[in-house]
Symmetry: C4
Subunit: 124 residues, 4 copies
């Protein structure tokens, strides 16, 4: 089977508001990255977080098992450091095997619920 | 005429909530894949659904007639198995002819209506 | 200067609801295609509209002047025929010069306002 | 390390409404372009704004520092001229080093909050 995807993915837009309308986890404001590893081996992915005015933080390491998807909330990243709230950031993912990456943000602020998505920018 | 599209398409983000605000079919939470077959022959498409922690399910088979579009709700897939609700998944489409694929999700939860879309990730 | 864009663009997702919450034109449900012609000559664009179960309709012709943008509402297309409401469709654009195409839909239904966008699928 | 991104980016859809529900800056209607410069040197970016019926305005100049992101609101551009409100426009970015560009619009109108995003169209 053909390898599906790319090994480098960028998501320029990133922002986790500290405010959230709901205490319900499903409706808590979050930034999510959804990854597909359609291949036969583990995909080892490192994530770096870039900021406007300081050095990048990372790498965060994660593994997407073969023939699996992983939906990861940036809110949940803690090692080496949590992603700061109310701060513009960008994420860059590098994988040792081809993957496909989609970015989704749910924002619940001021009793509003908004949801946005895009396939990330991929290259090899 | 040039063949339009690609033969492999991935949509990493997938999630069908079991809750829905409306009983009206048009406003029922759904995940849709919109496919264009601009060519002169049937496009035979197989879909596999990937999960976080188990083997993929599929293939689901469908045909997009020549010079036609098909808007398919993942909610409606039943063979070989319905797509589970409240579960993260990813879909991978493979077609025997070039097609173009766009992903749209409508979510109606807590009296909110949200709609998001992206062209899927395509390759040959 | 480098020519910017592609000559073939597809937007698989298309749907104009007949219901609209507002009588205000800015909030009327609409599907928009935004085109950039960054080049030095007119871009002559033909649009074909594809359906689930009948032959495509078109071509619709339009011109994007040099170094200009055009934001076109599918709602406004009339020649050779209006785009039917409450009907799934797909649009395919072909230009004699490179252009860049983005799709935006505003839906105002049931007092909700939703807005979605994606760069279309482009190829030469 | 591989250079990440492209040097030319287009965002066909652009529109800043003059109305805004909120006086709170975070909820003021805005168009944002998010740029990643993952490289080791400054990325010098020029932006041109295209209109439906007149010559483009620009260039607007900005610099994205090495290994940094910049989230820029089109609302904030002033030199050589502010971006007109209630007017369709398109933006074209050119960078002397590869960058990645994502477009986000927040619209707050009529007590509604909508948010949309897409990776821009990139090429070299």
């Amino acid at each position: 089977m053909t390898a599906v995807g790319k090994t480098i993915w960028a998501i320029p837009e990133g922002y986790i508001p500290s405010q959230s309308t709901s205490g319900d986890l499903a409706f808590l404001s979050h930034e999510t990255v959804c990854m597909l590893n359609a291949g036969a081996g583990d995909a080892n992915v490192s994530i770096a977080i870039f900021f406007a005015d300081r050095e990048p933080v990372g790498p965060y390491w994660l593994t997407v098992p073969p023939r699996c998807t992983k939906h990861l909330r940036f809110n949940d990243l803690t090692d080496p450091a949590p992603v700061p709230r109310d701060t513009d950031y960008t994420s860059l993912l590098e994988s040792d095997r081809p993957v496909v990456v989609q970015h989704t943000r749910l924002a619940s602020r001021k009793s509003k619920l908004v949801l946005l998505t895009t396939i990330a920018f991929g290259q090899n």
